[in-house]
Symmetry: C2
Subunit: 563 residues, 2 copies
């Protein structure tokens, strides 16, 4: 059985677990009625199942390749991308003024979830373009908006993000790419960028690069970085792709996974660029784009996990060893915990999306703070879970899982990048305990208060599960109170396990909601029990680790580590 | 810096953590003096570093291939294998009567650890041969021993294990391969086998297949299975490779990792075979071989983890993002926990090997029971840890970890199989809570008693760490008492987390020993603190999961799982 988009699962979450209703009730998103959402998700799901998913293995077997300086996409990708563009899926959340649908991020995230499960390598193309659209909407001049946004939104052109250089990965401020004024309002951009996802492709008629570079008077570090639009083909007076710019793809990387996604080394050699936003404010613009990108990368982990789960579930029903292996307790354990964890991660991601939408629609600081708090959790937990689930999927297949033809291994290889790009999961964890706790833990406490209140109320219906969730939330709250009193180094030393504990508790919270909504004895309640009894208990070990502080890690010297 | 065999680490463990001294004190292993062990490990380590490790990447890039029915090994493998054979490393633990060194398994396991870190794909070749030697030593007739053992021990010939068939993986009893008497004492073996590791190769002059097949009067299921020696080339009257047997390699698998190891589909078409052991007793013979193979597969996980750790440690010192990334708390956390977990898994594996050796040397049932108890833990924990550590190694490399040229990803791909073959880790866990608890938990309790006694004694020196270890062991003991009272289905439903909890406690036990031996403030004590404070706490969540029983997993129906 091929991949089937989890439309009804997403619908259930948006109806009952992290309701979209408050979003639809705002003026901005009034169009996102239940009927509209149903129609959108059904249509996107159909495309993912019928058109996108069948290209997934071809992308793995026949990676994108560089031919005379031009990237040739994997077989079938051009047609699959055309379906995405024609359906308007690039611009789900984009401004209607430039051709977008103007729908909530919650819908966009849901479609990205399904697209990621269908073909992660291909999905990166519209995802990067979405990030670029968002950056331009927030920071670009009206001229640039008018020129680029319609074509990006329609999928005629695609967009890339050019941050990384060999010496400047997480330390973006170390970049050396330069932008010199040409005297006519444009800039000459020169430098080399690496890890540029979909840095070129033949699915579109132009590729638009957003490039971070330093102006001659740019200070060292992140404060001296500006953002430039550097198109592959410079638009002519009619806005159509014109003469070639001075940039090229030097080479493509040979990667563990997402073979269908060309990862380019780009060289800019005095390429003509246009400033986006204020001089020296490039990082701020980049961060706008990055926050949503981070959420959507978390969702990539969820999409791949879903696909891996479906494949493993089917195999476990078909494969007979004594009985169908799904009847073996340990295989059932793997499948049940996969399904439970996918639900948890998906709910967290959609909660983040709903908070983003509420923040946009209402302008309320509390919603914005909640979205900001949930973003690193959604990203790191979604991707860690995705890698784990893909690994369990391989394991359930036994020896067949290690054979590439089966397809289970591809999910594992593809998923592995999601914990790394858009800020490694270590950076997400540092973001959570650092920037996202600059409010003294206020946003975290507010969320945990809701978790505890709901758990208390649930005691009447599901006493055992509710009690476990309440106790875990209470413990996390105490740990959070402790955390915000620590210095940064101690927080960082416990950041990754703290994030994991937070995700475990939130997952339990959403499972409890689902169980209450569906009622005792329902499949939802049974799945919630699996999560709360088997996965939630991990929070305690994670919090113990989170509180161990930095000193013991540094007591172990670099010399000790090598001995 | 290329791979460096962890000779001094292994020496420390064998001197202070799971001492080899009692083994050397037996008559059987009197030759294994400290000086001898030092010389052996140093020499093996030198070979691994200088000759074996440099071939690792070549094996990945240029997989073994099938050419006119013959397997051509990866570049450099023939020469590397020759070094292993010439050094006598195939026969470290083999009977001196047939040219082996007759040394303890603890030494063999140590060398296999280093070989696995150097080149896992290649190491499988001598490992499988070692398994075959052991099976022949225990079950074959004197004629077969005299004919095959010298050549297998010297590495002139290699050996394979032919169990799996398409329909018969974990359910070995479902196999269909037949053996018909030829009337001259030989048998005609016919059938197809899959997943045959090193099923053919050009490193040796003959390949000896041990094949499970059913005699005409063999009962259905595992009780009707017999074991046959089926050589690729039938030995002539002088014992040299003679005429070709009726068997062939049909194809090679395209795998996620260990590309240098040819995984063959084998076809036996009335091939001439010789019965090994009693008719219908093939499974018992297979199990002899499998127990040591399981321990050594656990060790493969450890070896790959070591190599992944070394690579990540070097990268973290060289890679500067603001500072060398090893100074970032989260990277340091990853490296410290990797190192701590590798130590734990290695100590468990060597404890298992020492117990095996003591069992062989003394014949004492308690030692045999301990070895049997530790085998599934060493296998499953060593390999799960290996996969996890290889994943952390990729993560520490950031984007570079996803690029194949870096080599970090190869460790992850290679390690993945170790949790699957020689009995999946799920089967190991079932073995632990099933067969290995048929004694009512006696062997487990005896070991936990030692852990608790030592932890109590350590309170004087390292009170905090000792207390944590004691409490964990006590909790595990209580859970074990509970476990042995449960029916099998409930045990199986908690088997994997129970095994993980057991490994966590044992790891803490050996870390505590190391800390006591090296003294307060030592690197060993600091590493023990990292393990006991950051990793040991996971035992509690694992035990909670282990006790949840089967019912909740089956309450969730197959239909619920698909919805």
């Amino acid at each position: 059985m091929p991949y089937r988009s989890p439309v009804s699962e997403i619908r259930f979450i948006l109806d009952h677990v992290v309701p979209l209703a408050p979003v639809s009730a705002t003026e901005r998103y009034a169009e996102a009625t239940p009927d509209m959402v149903e129609a959108i998700l059904t249509e996107a799901g159909r495309m993912c199942d019928e058109i996108i998913a069948p290209t997934n293995r071809d992308g793995d077997l026949t990676p994108a390749r560089l031919e005379n300086g031009v990237v040739r996409s994997s077989p079938g990708f051009k047609e699959a991308f055309a379906a995405i563009a024609e359906g308007g899926w690039v611009g789900i959340a984009a401004d209607p003024e430039y051709g977008g649908m103007g729908l909530p991020q919650a819908i966009n995230v849901s479609v990205n979830d399904m697209l990621s499960g269908a073909n992660l390598a291909l999905q990166l193309n519209p995802l990067l373009t979405q990030g670029q659209i968002e950056a331009l909407e927030s920071h670009a001049s009206d001229e640039i908006k008018a020129l680029y946004l319609p074509k990006l939104t329609s999928g005629e052109w695609s967009g890339t993000m050019n941050l990384t250089e060999p010496q400047a990965g997480s330390d973006v401020g170390a970049l050396r790419t330069k932008a010199e004024p040409n005297g006519d309002g444009t800039y000459a951009v020169s430098g080399q960028k690496i890890f540029i996802t979909w840095g070129d492709n033949d699915c579109v008629s132009n590729v638009c690069h957003l490039v971070l570079a330093r102006l001659p008077d740019g200070a060292p570090g992140t404060k001296g970085i500006s953002l430039f639009m550097v198109p592959k083909l410079i638009p002519d007076e009619n806005g159509n792709p014109g003469v070639a710019n001075s940039l090229k793809v030097v080479s493509l990387e040979h990667k563990l996974g997402i073979h269908g996604s060309p990862t380019c080394v780009m060289s800019f050699e005095g390429a003509t660029g246009w400033l986006v936003g204020e001089p020296h404010k490039g990082m701020a613009a980049m961060f706008t784009m990055m926050n949503n990108a981070r959420l959507n990368v978390g969702v990539q982990g969820i999409g791949v996990a879903e696909a891996a789960y479906q494949k493993a579930l089917e195999y476990a029903q078909d494969r007979v060893q004594f009985t169908p292996i799904i009847e073996h307790a340990d295989v059932r354990r793997m499948l049940a915990t996969m399904k439970a964890d996918i639900f948890a991660a998906r709910s967290i991601a959609l909660a983040c999306a709903v908070a983003l939408d509420m923040g946009h629609a209402t302008g309320e600081a509390d919603w914005k703070a909640r979205a900001a708090l949930l973003t690193p959790i959604a990203k790191a937990f979604g991707t860690d879970m995705g890698i784990w689930a893909a690994g369990e999927g391989v394991q359930i297949h036994g020896g067949m899982g290690f054979i590439e033809e089966t397809g289970a291994a591809q999910y594992l290889r593809d998923a592995r990048i999601t914990a790394i790009y858009e800020g490694t999961n270590g950076i997400q964890a540092m973001d959570l305990v650092g920037r996202k706790m600059m409010d003294g833990g206020k946003a975290a406490m507010a969320l945990l208060q809701e978790v505890e209140d709901e758990a208390k109320a649930a005691r009447a219906t599901l006493p055992d599960l509710a009690e476990d969730v309440w106790a875990a939330a209470e413990s996390l709250r105490e740990s959070t109170e402790w955390l915000v009193e620590q210095d940064m180094q101690d927080r960082f030393a416990g950041a990754a396990p703290y994030l994991r504990a937070f995700a475990r508790v939130l997952g339990a919270h959403y499972h409890l909601r689902a169980a209450i909504a569906a009622g005792e004895g329902s499949a939802r309640a049974k799945l919630a029990a699996v999560y709360i009894r088997r996965l939630l208990p991990q929070y305690a070990a994670a919090l113990a680790e989170a509180k161990d502080g930095a000193q013991p890690l540094y007591d172990l010297t670099v010399e000790d580590m090598g001995a």
